[in-house]
Symmetry: D5
Subunit: 147 residues, 10 copies
């Protein structure tokens, strides 16, 4: 039986072997880029049709379709503190600016949180003469503490 | 001797007592909003002039100025996984979307990272009929792996 | 040899493949909904008859019956702090309201605990014009500290 | 300077010394019982008026009012796994039934979570000839995964 | 304000200074030996009368009485794995014989647990020519899993 | 090659399949009940003769005999804090009563420990009209600190 | 499917079996010594040409080429604190001299970091009559904190 | 009584207040720069004469001299994984290049380690048109495994 | 009230201030060298007479005598893995040779342990032309597993 | 491919099956007893000749020779705190006597460590009428802190 982790590993290997990009896959499935990437990496359940289409494009074995469709137990970091430098920088942002973000949310909205469920994210390349910039936008609905 | 943590706690208590906002403080110091918040919370060294101005406005004791000026040992979370719900949601974003962000950075830029040093952040309230949204923008220079 | 974890994974995959619900399974086994779900996920020993019936409906391999019947070593979280957002929210409730629940139990009952053994739970959907609500009821016998 | 933790400890000691209950306090402040308990234990910011009223009733020192008013960094457990038996039973419920609750939420609502922010809880004593029962109701808005 | 931990430390120091034993204290308070020890070490709330009597005998300061009366947040080990050799041996018993005890409880009683709430313990010295023996008896009500 | 853990799993599965009890096995091997259970669960080396007899009764594969005979690296809990409720209650006893047991050992014997090596344990069902009781007796030689 | 970890293990075994050195491999691939070592151990993506050349020299199976080419999730230590003595000494250097290095960077450059991305390292043997010395040079671009 | 940590904090505050550099202090004490920094931060015992000289220059209280002279229990990181970005980058180097350094030491020297005791370190600023570089040199005696 | 940790810190500071050695203290108290060191560092209860003598020699405050006499909760490492290099090397010996020591004990004695209670240790300097050697002898009674 | 851990497990199983001792193996390989044990357990690289001889005597599969020859990543404990009682006692010695050993090394040698690399160990059975003793000698070169 294929797990969601094994299906994700198979997706990554197939991308290298077939020379496909996440953009190719998102277009083929007709789904947003970041959602597609997260879903094929095992963090969202993939609807039947898209799972079958992805398996076809990526030449995945049959039971990978079931794996992609399964409701995930989310959580993609292998340890509480990520070790991969590209991911770690975002953890570092939390360590350095977490309470700052919290204070500014409270100042602008009152007591509450940014939803990570009613949420979308975007990763963009912004040209800059001093070196292009990675701009990650986290965009979630504000949810006030409400009894 | 006042530590940077104690100085930050004194800043928070004074804000409540005096009814001041981070925006008030940023304007008084002439520094960007998020930077000011992070710095007064102890995550950046505050230049002498701003440290004295902040102490004056917030009626902090004299040795808080030294505390604010000290080079910080950064890291504001009290445990590897934050427990405060407002901050946790950002950790959850990492757990669910960390590898997605990594994949999209690699697809758009190649092997490398978003700098958390040459970096600025912004927290904005975006009106939305279905509920206003918290939009946090992380904006850092791309740094390619380079031997 | 099939472990209880592998049997649970097989149950989950079969449900997707066969389009069955937990409600279908609970009815087929004649057992309460939440108990059935917990038991097939490996947290309760399943009596022989029900184990065989479940294996038949879900087309599980033969030794999955033994796995379902085994007395479990309970504990379903993969780390002390759950990473899956749906499960995490309940951990967050503990972080924010744990001492509150404790205080109110002590105020209403005196020194003691709610049993998690003589215990049943219920998950219900309650319609609400402002958005339907998840209502989880934890219902356990009070056990007073008694020497 | 009084921290929120010290203010909570002072509240608990005053309750014993003065023979007050959480119900007395909730009535005096005009706020819901469980919310009042959580807030005085330091998990919610207390509005100015209620903070002053509580300080008066509980004979707290002056700067406890500021402490109660401060926006909390939430999280009340002293370690990731709680050691107090009354609180631990709820962690045990998560260990044994966490994935069950998750499965039933997904079956009844689709992919999403129960909010712990738009949320209320209730602790009740339900008489039962076989021993009275603690019934804890967790009641939160359903939030669907929504891109 | 005196915490329960500080009250316990004061009890231990007073015992050494005054040359008292736990047996002396249990007799003076009219409570069982092991219960008395646990309660004065801060793991049980001490009724008002006994708290005052203990404070008198042990010459504790006035607010230690409040500390002794407070409902404890139980949990006496300073780390998840105890380092003190006398206590560690009991953790080792769990590491080596935990599943054995579990199997024998299930074989003799069916699925369920020994209560640690409706529970008493006893420590006795049993003479033995090959070296006297420590005999610790853990005696708790069986609680069957019951939905 | 079969590990001791796999051999223990095979023992547990065979017991269910063949309907055998630990008492049956202890009688067949002529060894004490709790020792037998611990040994077949992989916590004691099993002498050649008993290992072969157990393999025969339980229809274990040939190399399980070698596994049972191997000197174990002891330690049966899957994490420092056990998650299984039946085992956890004994950890909870340590959390609540560990220092109490320590104090009473020191009061009755002086400075030293209860051996967990020169040690035997017993699990008994004691009838009680208010509910039968689990009585676990830990019986170890006292070892004084001796330089 | 071969993981990067399995490919790295295969590289190490092949080196022993074929009597090759990292220097041999670096020369054959035409890449810097330390980079080559890190890349074949799975910490850098290996370009297609070099991956195929390495597989040929080291007689690796076909899908090891895909494994070598994959973008790694970096992080090579098996636990947060390394246990291998050769690696541990560098962790010890951090424990003893970490804040010293930090202070001296701040004194010479101001607030900022040494990049671990725009970075190269070198390990050299320096003859010394009192015992040859290991000289490890860490050489990274300074990145100033810059908003 | 002043601890070594408190003495180090006093040193850091005095440096800011008096506008002194580590270079100033090293020259005044006549000791190497990095050693001086480490020693005043509490990681080396400071000889009596230097401790008194440092206390005089930095206007430290009398018992700070004793604190500086004490043999330290070394270890300067507040958690196993450092959170300060300037220090973290060196931990990241270990995560990414630790096994590489190990392999190259073994290739050049055979089985053994770089000593962290017979050891010196140097932090230098190396001008570079593409951005100045931090060059940290770790220089320790090779110690072969020797029975 | 003085804790055993504070008493130990006071002992260490007094030794530096008064220029005393552990050997001086052991002779003055008439107790073995290593036992004396461990006891004054808080790991053994010190008999009344020796506690008073030590307090006199070391000019400790009055209530340090009670602290020294108290039964300790043993365990002297500040984290599970020691960070001090002098102590770490012994942890490293366990990491590298722990199973070796275990195997040799089992080969020479059968199944059992070396007691750490009926135990003495010795630290000696052994001259060696290639560099003097630290020889630490751990000498404990063998305790066979015995039911 | 055989890992060093699998090779070690194969060695242990073969010893039981063939009735060999570590002393037999050390004699056959012509290497010191404790070194041989550690090396065959995977903590030292085994020279080609000895690896082949060991494989022959122990009837190991062919690629176990490569596994034995590989440079190990040392570290033999499965968790930071060992759970096996025979190994744990040595960890307990560190917890109770670690700082004592450190103090005595500093008193006899000055600031520095006992090498765990230029190191040998010995486990001996010493007859004693009160019970034979395990005497473990740790013998390492002193390394002074030396800049």
């Amino acid at each position: 039986m294929t797990t969601k982790k094994e299906a994700a590993d198979a997706v990554l290997a197939a991308k290298v072997r077939l020379g496909l990009t996440w953009t190719d896959l998102a277009e083929a499935l007709g789904t947003p880029l970041a959602w597609t990437t997260a879903a094929l990496l095992g963090q969202h359940p993939v609807p039947k049709e898209q799972a079958e289409r992805a398996a076809e494009i990526l030449e995945l074995p049959a039971d990978a379709v079931t794996a992609l469709r399964l409701q995930p137990t989310r959580g993609a970091l292998e340890s509480p503190v990520p070790t991969d430098p590209t991911i770690y920088r975002f953890y570092e942002v939390l360590q350095v600016y977490g309470p700052t973000i919290k204070e500014l949310i409270h100042e602008q909205f009152g007591d509450g949180i940014m939803s990570a469920i009613n949420f979308r994210l975007d990763v963009r390349r912004v040209p800059d003469p001093a070196g292009d910039r990675v701009v990650v936008t986290l965009d979630g609905k504000f949810l006030p503490y409400q009894w």
